[in-house]
């Protein structure tokens, strides 16, 4: 028997459930698959309808989880197996090797500065880069670094170990192994959240082929002050060109050096080297002209119900997409006074507290255009600008409109591991693959002693997730107190 | 015929108004008074109108008596306490002034000495009471006078109050003024005759003669200015349009004034024409109105 609770998932729902229980004097284990707790909310720039800075309001909660005497953080960990029953579960957990001694690491970040391996940054939706040794995000908790063994040179059998040399805290441990251990808990709360639907499945929207068609979460990172562009609203195409310019400039430098050395040594012909240089120069000026032609982002389109309310992909509604887009459109105006946004929607679902008011403000104060109609196709015009084809239901007209940037409000789909977890733990899923609950007991799953909250149960906004997390905490507390 | 006699005779009264200027030059005012002398029953002389420092009302009223015009001496409570007011009234009587119009007066902040100390020791009502007291041979403190005046006291009323409360209050105060001895009322300028008629219906039971005010509209701009800045005056939009559309402003002005006077004839006991420098037009107005 155990009076402890395991919370699976360190997003806002899991954190809230964990803190509620811990504050009630119950020992809680908070398990998170990624190197840091925070979940999707940590990736958001602002939140509706208050425009609060997301990480600002979440940051203190992250600290609180770490500091609380009744909580145990199990980050970078996964559930392997669950046995037993309500009041007495045995949970087998694998804690993945970080190759860092968490107690020693001071998160000084020197290692990452010196690490030679650069890879796309998952937290920034691949729009920025990180090193092989990295902190998931700056405010991440626990505040320690992690070595990504899939890319680190040491684990590819190459010479390196720079980080070990430079770390004065002596926190690097290449020999660290995954640890598997068992935990005895009385109740489990599943708060595994959701995934963002991959819109490349919808070929007609061009995501993945048209650079400036991005997802809403990607857009969040582009807006964010600590995101890959430090909050300068730039479209991926111009980021690509910038990267190319940088690369070409590097090549030119190299070519110049080569030419110089050739001239110095006076060996052989310099013609070819000159030719290469000229070609590179031409390329550079071409790129620069292209960059200049792009200019600033001015017209943004938001496409609603991407993969949602669509029987081909997901029948369900993502619940937050409308407000999410209104928010992003409102926040965009802080990044440039000339930015205009158009939202293409089916139904404006502004059904929460102060949501409708927020939506109205978006139109009246921030000049957001709302076009009722489902976007049929996104393609490119001759200049490479993405173009939206859509029937405006109010005007009863087919419209073809070019934009600088198109943001897809992607569907909310069950997280990838949930199916496995359902098998391990023995709870049922609903028609969309989310965790099913008793209609009259909204956090109770079909498995006794196992509760669910947040988007693991289905699409919902942050306040609903937080409310539900407290509700799940209440049910779990009842279970471990042996009274429920 | 003195103003008191005209009033008592029940005839339709015509009064005009002159405002002394800043300085000692009174020539042009006397000339203006001379032009209308035979067409009016009395001429009001204002008391530092709009709280602007000017030549006094008493002196100019006295000059009018010399010309054989019966002046209505306007007196406000703004600048003098009860000692000065009583004393000035006695002086005025001695100088041949017989009619007094008692007013509270504009606040000094409206004028050119905005930081002057406002006195308002007496307001229009208590001023009237005081006049009654003097007429009865006593001062306000109850001391007997050696030789008492016999002033004809009058007062003003603003029929154009812009809301119900203001109008109710105006009428209540009018009653108080009557109680305090007011024998006639002159009103603020009337342009909206229908509104004025409503006012008259409410106060005709008081049985005190009312002399309706008429200001000569000199331009559309002046009309708009009054609408914005003069309490109780509202020039209806069609009238303003008439002024904008006309080529001959003077002719139009006279025509409008005459039209108003004509209608007032059926509503009240007289008209008080404020010509504001256009005194020479007054005869034309009266002619056109058939008076």
């Amino acid at each position: 028997m155990s009076k402890d609770v395991l919370v699976i998932g360190g997003g806002i729902a899991g954190i809230q459930a964990c803190l509620d229980l811990a504050d009630q004097g119950i020992t809680v284990y908070l398990l998170e698959r990624l190197p840091s707790i925070g979940g999707k909310m940590a990736q958001l720039d602002k939140t509706f309808p208050t425009n609060d800075c997301s990480i600002c309001i979440m940051g203190p909660k992250l600290f609180e989880v770490e500091r609380h005497p009744n909580t145990h953080l199990l980050t970078y960990s996964e559930v392997e197996a669950v046995d037993g029953e309500a009041g007495n579960f045995m949970v087998k957990i694998k804690k993945k090797a970080r190759y860092i001694d968490e107690d020693k690491c001071t998160a000084c970040g020197l290692c990452a500065e010196k690490c030679p391996v650069i890879v796309p940054d998952q937290f920034n939706m691949g729009l920025g880069t990180r090193r092989a040794i990295y902190k998931y995000f700056p405010q991440g908790i626990p505040s320690v670094y992690t070595i990504d063994d899939s890319v680190c040179r040491v684990f590819q059998g190459k010479k390196c170990k720079i980080c070990a040399k430079i770390c004065e805290a002596e926190a690097i441990d290449y020999e660290q192994k995954d640890i598997v251990f068992e935990l005895n808990v009385g109740a489990i709360i599943v708060a595994t959240g959701f995934e963002v639907f991959d819109p490349s499945d919808i070929k007609s929207y061009g995501y993945g082929t048209i650079a400036d068609v991005i997802t809403a979460l990607e857009f969040e990172r582009l807006l964010n002050a600590s995101g890959p562009t430090r909050g300068h609203l730039e479209r991926p195409s111009s980021l690509n060109i910038k990267a190319e310019i940088k690369q070409t400039e590097k090549k030119i430098k190299k070519a110049k050096a080569r030419l110089k050395s050739l001239e110095k040594k006076n060996q052989g012909s310099t013609d070819e080297a000159r030719k290469t240089l000229a070609a590179l120069d031409e390329r550079l000026s071409g790129l620069k002209a292209k960059e200049a032609a792009l200019g600033d982002v001015k017209d943004i389109a938001f496409v609603q119900c991407v993969g949602s309310r669509d029987l081909r992909y997901n029948a369900h509604c993502c619940s937050y997409g409308c407000m999410h887009s209104v928010k992003e459109a409102i926040v965009s105006t802080e990044h440039g006074s000339e930015i205009r946004s158009t939202i293409f929607f089916t139904d404006m679902r502004a059904y929460g507290k102060e949501f409708h008011e927020y939506f109205l403000r978006g139109g009246a104060e921030y000049g957001i255009q709302f076009v009722r109609g489902r976007v049929a196709e996104i393609n490119q015009d001759d200049h490479g600008r993405p173009v939206i084809w859509c029937e405006d239901m109010d005007a009863r007209k087919v419209k073809k409109l070019p934009f600088d940037l198109i943001v897809l409000a992607t569907a909310c789909v069950p997280s990838k591991g949930i199916e496995k977890l359902a098998n391990i733990m023995g709870f049922d899923s609903d028609q969309s693959g989310f965790v099913k609950t008793d209609p009259n007991k909204p956090t109770t799953t079909s498995a006794k002693g196992i509760f669910v909250c947040g988007c693991a149960n289905g699409p919902m906004d942050i306040p609903s997730s937080v409310s539900m997390a407290s509700a799940a905490a209440s049910m779990a507390a009842q279970t471990v107190k042996g009274l429920g | 015929m003195s103003f008191r006699e005209s009033l008592e005779s029940g005839k339709f009264l015509v009064t005009a108004e002159v405002g002394p200027g800043k300085g000692t030059d009174v020539e042009h005012l006397l000339k203006a008074a001379d032009i209308i002398k035979d067409r009016v029953d009395a001429i009001n002389v204002t008391d530092l109108q709009s709280s602007v420092m000017r030549l006094g009302s008493m002196a100019f009223s006295h000059l009018l008596t010399d010309m054989g015009i019966d002046p209505i001496f306007q007196m406000t409570g703004r600048d003098r306490n009860r000692l000065a007011l009583q004393s000035d009234l006695l002086s005025a009587w001695v100088l041949g002034i017989r009619n007094v119009l008692a007013l509270t007066g504009d606040h000094p902040t409206m004028g050119d000495h905005p930081h002057a100390k406002p006195v308002f020791d007496l307001d229009s009502v208590s001023l009237l009471e005081m006049i009654g007291k003097l007429n009865s041979g006593y001062d306000m403190a109850g001391n007997e006078l050696k030789g008492a005046p016999e002033f004809l006291p009058g007062a003003v009323v603003n029929p154009g109050a812009d809301n119900e409360a203001a109008l109710d209050l105006q009428i209540m105060k009018m009653e108080k003024k009557i109680e305090a001895g007011a024998k006639f009322f002159q009103t603020q300028a009337v342009y909206d005759i229908d509104l004025f008629e409503k006012f008259i219906r409410r106060v005709e039971g008081f049985k005190v003669p009312i002399i309706g005010g008429v200001i000569l509209l000199k331009s559309a701009g002046m009309a708009r200015f009054m609408n914005k800045n003069v309490a109780g005056v509202f020039v209806p939009i069609p009238l303003i349009k008439e002024m904008t559309d006309t080529k001959d402003k003077v002719k139009k002005s006279v025509e409008i004034a005459a039209r108003i006077v004509k209608r007032l004839k059926n509503l009240c006991q007289g008209v008080h024409i404020m010509a504001l420098g256009w005194e020479k037009m007054i005869p034309a107005v009266l002619d056109q109105a058939g008076i």
Partner: protein, 553 residues
């Protein structure tokens, strides 16, 4: 405060993070020369075990009574060092931290001289401030293990039962004669497809037999004073007046569907509301063959500019039940935006469409017009006006706040918003809490919610309440404002500026700040014209000392 000041300064290398830029030895020498400093030491990592034990040892060896650590940010490390101080026998608030990493070495890497000077300045300021640090104690207040739940709708009853199930006693008050709230009048609940009466009777029975719950119907809340853990409540029940002490309060006062007087020719007979339809459904008293439902009747309009969240689903649910009863019924739903968020709602919408319910969108500028037996509507897809036959018109009206929301908000000193729904502490992260500690919120009183959502919130509110109830006493660190009564001029400034309505005038006629309620922002301290409010944590004296030490003397 009479004892001699003995300050120890500990400067962290943080590996080369600080030491790579700053000359730590030089800083130690500098610190040693500062007034009241007894010792200054360097550590490779002050936060490591070696560092904290060095602090503890130095405290013992040098008889220190103040500790200053110059290292990284207090936002992450202050708790650790405070704990070390406590272990060393010093009050944790006799500790001051200087951030020479994030605020110095990391951001002035290329200007080492200036960085060194700045670090010296920051340490000097901290040492000066340390001289005025005062011990701060935590204080405790007893918790009454009792909850007052106001309102006995589905939310209130669920909260009460959840708390009772966790072993806590509950007083449940209901202003109506019967418990059950809105659900008493409803037909069935979707998507569970249970009869509302069944659900509610079950809960009422559970409450009635639960020994831990005392319930009062026809009960009116009259007065609430006190603070978290220790509220005094007075309510009346008929002619009787009751007073009790409770630790926490849950507001579950619910809402009520708008009566659409004057809207769409509402008459309660041929034009009815969804609630009236549910009563008819319950009695199976419907003959209409052609039914038109109008959404947003009285909602999302300038005088009631919010979406009531649940009405679309109520309409869809009722369409399906109507279809069950009257197979050939022609049903039209006239809507502006269908709010079928999530999985189940969207599925239900689909089901209704499949069952033949027709949905026609209308724009707010061309609302439907209800005439005798028909409804005129501009059909946007056809681009023209059409007439729909309507034996029965059903208006989907929004949930509005109860008339007494305002008076309850005043009694509890908790805010309501423009639409008179209760206003939570934070829209995102504290949806069920009030800014005023110890009072929680759920159900329609917060905002329109489905049965499921209200249940969820009710359980959540119970969980929030349990946090307080689970402890015999509540501890609070004394980083709060307190009035020095002898200095108070009773000017009411603190009362006017406090964002949490905490200060009040006590029976001695002076301002008083209840420490359990004070959030410690310091606004009143800065504003008090009599300088009568004390704030031991970051006191005026400390700020003054830091300012005076801005320049080296």
């Amino acid at each position: 405060m009479n004892t001699e000041l003995r300050i120890g300064v500990f400067i962290c290398h943080c590996g080369i993070n600080i030491a790579g830029v700053l000359d730590i030895k030089g800083l130690c020498e500098y610190a040693k020369a500062l007034p009241n400093v007894v010792t200054a030491q360097a550590n490779l990592f002050t936060c490591a075990e070696t560092g904290t034990s060095a602090i503890k040892k130095a405290v013992k060896d040098n008889n220190l009574n103040r500790v200053v650590v110059a290292a990284c940010t207090p936002r992450t490390h202050e708790p650790l060092f405070r704990a070390s101080c406590k272990e060393a026998g010093i009050n944790p608030f006799l500790f001051e931290m200087v951030n020479i990493r994030e605020h110095c070495s990391w951001v002035h890497r290329h200007n080492k001289d200036a960085a060194q000077a700045k670090a010296g300045d920051l340490i000097r300021m901290a040492v000066a401030k340390a001289a005025f640090l005062e011990p701060i104690e935590t204080f405790k207040s007893k918790v009454e293990p009792l909850t007052l739940v106001i309102g006995s709708g589905i939310a209130g009853m669920t909260s009460a039962l959840a708390l009772a199930d966790q072993g806590f006693e509950v007083i449940l008050i209901e202003k109506e004669e019967n418990m059950g709230g809105l659900l008493r009048h409803l037909h069935k609940i979707a998507p569970a497809n249970v009869a509302a009466s069944e659900l509610i009777e079950e809960k009422i029975a559970a409450i009635k037999k639960n020994k831990r719950i005392k319930y009062f119907t026809s009960a009116i809340l009259e007065e609430v004073t006190g603070y978290v853990g220790n509220f005094s409540v007075r309510f009346s029940c008929g002619n009787d007046s009751y007073t009790c002490k409770v630790g926490v309060i849950i507001v579950a006062t619910g809402g009520i569907p708008l009566r659409p007087e004057g809207l769409f020719n509402y008459d309660g007979k041929n034009v009815i509301t969804q609630s009236e339809l549910e009563i008819k459904l319950k009695k199976r008293d419907i003959e209409a063959k052609s039914i038109v439902m109008i959404q947003c009747a009285g909602a999302r309009i300038p005088e009631r500019n919010y979406c009531s969240r649940i009405c679309c689903m109520v309409a869809i649910k009722n369409c399906l039940y109507l279809k069950d009863i009257i197979k050939d019924a022609k049903i039209f739903v006239l809507f502006r935006d269908i709010q079928a968020y999530g999985v189940e709602n969207e599925a239900l919408l689909l089901k209704a469409r499949e069952a033949g319910v027709r949905f026609i969108r209308y724009r707010p500028d061309t609302p439907p017009v209800v005439e005798n037996g028909k409804v005129k509507i501009y059909h946007p897809a056809m681009g023209k006006e059409i007439f729909l036959p309507a034996d029965l018109v059903v208006l989907s009206t929004p949930i509005v706040a109860h008339d007494d929301a305002e008076s309850i908000s005043r009694i509890l000193k908790v805010p309501i918003n423009g639409n008179k729904f209760f206003l939570e502490a934070h829209a995102k992260l504290s949806p069920l809490d009030f800014a005023f500690n110890g009072i929680y919120l759920c159900g329609n009183a917060r905002y329109p919610a489905t049965v499921r959502e209200a249940t969820c919130q009710a359980l959540g509110a119970a969980s929030r309440a349990c946090i307080t109830l689970s402890h015999d006493t509540i501890e609070r660190v004394g980083t709060v404002a307190s009035v020095q009564e002898e200095l108070c001029s009773t000017c009411f400034t603190c009362i006017k500026v406090c964002p949490y309505n905490v200060p009040y005038i006590n029976e001695r006629g002076r301002a008083e700040i209840e420490p359990m309620q004070c959030q410690g922002c310091g606004i009143c301290v800065a504003e008090c014209p009599a300088e009568a409010i004390e704030f031991k944590y970051i006191s005026d004296k400390q700020i003054m000392a830091a300012c005076e030490a801005l320049l080296a003397s």
